[in-house]
């Protein structure tokens, strides 16, 4: 509370002392309609709108959406200003209101900034170096399980396959082995209902008499029960897990209070929503891009066969030795950032260069647009993983590559995500050859932007199970 007051007064002072300064008006993107502004295009063609906004106006572009001013910031300097601003100035909370019924009241984005930062801090031990090694083993195990029943040749729906695989890896790493083995089927249904309950209607009111919202709330109640059951089992048996659930069971607030099952469930869901679909579509896009770029794929395969002999484990250390694979994943994230727009609301007046963005404005940055600025990433539409290699390093300037956001709210699961997708490819690409059967590829933007389902892929087995 104290920090907020003091920062707020700084904000006022800043405006007061700058009274003599003349600010420039924010240029408005073309196509605004009377009353509606850009609302229709915002809902129907968001990427087209923000890309045009950048091309027309440059790093500061004004939009009018649903009666609100949204200012799109693009380019490394503007992004740095957005990401470095403290929460008391630019807050992510408002934009996440839609998630409150899922994550829960007083959990993460719905809690006060101090409480939220304490809660996120509790996740830290679950994401630290040592634990990562365990997750790597889990992801490898799940990937091998996922393809164990594949024959010599066949066809799969890539989108479906990636979603199922990353659902198992996430469940296993977050909720633990018992949950993965005993409750996967029911969890899939509960999680589905929670996802379907995340609708833009929640911006109007989080609790409307809609069937999707009723199902959402019922699902959350059930999930709390399921988690309580596992927590109870662990407490009775004394068995400990190497997972997020255990970390949260052990965690305490500074006051000494433990997390309630409501809070544990909410934080696990926050981690699940952050990590599952994002990793899923990144896996799908990377496979698609590699399949379309055979020359680069050959180099990735040569690298993987150099590091891994048949039957070798995919160890944490070995994942540091496959940079070409890593650049391919990064390049997919550049072209297809799962979260294509990031929002903050200005709690006080915010100054950027010659612009004054008044309190109440929403600020946005689009990784999709920013990753297509030719001055930063030449020939931006080209899938060219070598742009990250030594000598070029086009992402070297801070805040140029923002697939994971930046600053204090940069994705906590960034290292986990890279570890996971690298592990999946180190296994899949040695075991199978893939051919994509779709062209052109239609992206579909829901919670994240992925290739449109179904997406048929033909595989051919290269090695028997146990050899990759």
């Amino acid at each position: 509370m104290e920090t907020q007051t003091s920062v707020a007064s700084t904000g006022t002072n800043r405006v007061g002392s700058a009274a003599s300064k003349s600010y420039r008006a924010v240029p408005v993107v073309s196509g605004a309609l009377p009353v509606l502004g850009h609302s229709i295009e915002f809902a129907s063609n968001l990427l087209g709108l923000v890309h045009r906004g950048y091309l027309e106006c440059g790093e500061v572009a004004g939009l009018r959406v649903f009666g609100r001013n949204i200012v799109l910031l693009s380019g490394t300097d503007a992004q740095e200003a957005l990401f470095r601003a403290p929460d008391e100035v630019l807050s992510p909370n408002e934009a996440y209101k839609i998630m409150t019924p899922v994550f829960g009241k007083d959990v993460v984005y719905d809690a006060s900034p101090e409480r939220m930062s304490e809660q996120l801090g509790m996740l830290r031990p679950a994401l630290q170096d040592k634990r990562m090694r365990t997750y790597g083993e889990i992801v490898a195990e799940e990937t091998r399980r996922g393809v164990a029943s594949w024959g010599e040749r066949g066809e799969i729906d890539l989108v479906e396959f990636c979603a199922t695989l990353t659902n198992f890896t996430s469940t296993h790493c977050l909720l633990g082995r018992e949950f993965r083995e005993q409750m996967s089927t029911e969890f899939a249904q509960v999680y589905y209902d929670l996802e379907r309950g995340v609708t833009p209607a929640a911006y109007i009111h989080p609790n409307l008499p809609l069937p999707s919202m009723r199902k959402r709330d019922k699902a959350r109640v059930r999930l709390v029960e399921m988690i309580e059951e596992i927590v109870g089992q662990r407490l009775r048996s004394g068995r400990r897990g190497e997972d997020f659930l255990q970390t949260l069971m052990d965690a305490e607030y500074k006051t000494g209070e433990k997390l309630t099952p409501h809070e544990i469930t909410g934080m696990l869901l926050a981690a699940m929503f952050a990590g599952h679909h994002t990793s899923s579509v990144t896996t799908a896009w990377t496979l698609i891009e590699l399949a379309r770029t055979p020359d680069y794929l050959d180099r990735v395969l040569a690298e993987l066969h150099r590091v891994y002999k048949p039957g070798d484990d995919v160890t944490f250390q070995s994942l540091r030795q496959i940079p070409l694979t890593e650049y391919a994943i990064k390049e997919s994230l550049r072209l297809h950032p799962p979260l294509y727009i990031l929002l903050r609301s200005a709690l006080v007046d915010f100054e950027y260069r010659d612009y004054l963005l008044p309190k109440g404005t929403w600020l946005a940055t689009s990784p999709w647009v920013s990753h297509r600025i030719p001055g930063i990433f030449p020939e931006p539409e080209r899938f060219d993983p070598d742009r990250f290699a030594p000598g070029r390093e086009e992402d070297k300037k801070q805040f140029s590559f923002i697939a994971f956001g930046g600053g204090r709210h940069k994705c906590l699961g960034n290292a986990f995500a890279m570890l996971q997708v690298k592990t999946i490819f180190a296994i899949l690409l040695r075991g199978f050859e893939f051919e994509i059967l779709h062209d052109p590829i239609v992206p579909e933007s829901g919670l994240v932007m992925g290739p449109k389902k179904p997406f048929r892929v033909r595989y051919r087995r290269l090695l028997p199970n146990g050899q990759f």
Binding site: R320, Q398, L412
Partner: protein, 63 residues
Amino acid sequence: MKIVIDWGLCQGHANCTGDAPDVFAVDENGKLTVLIAEPPEEMRGQVELAVRYCPTGAIRIEG
């Protein structure tokens, strides 16, 4: 070689402690300590790994 930390970005992930355990330490509250501010040249390889795999890009090498 000198290590420079951007304290506005460090989130205490402790990945650096895995890559260069003699150079970085992170306590249970996520507070980073640089144990050797100017590591000897033979540590360059591990420090570069720490820079490269820092999830928040908070580590830089000068020199």
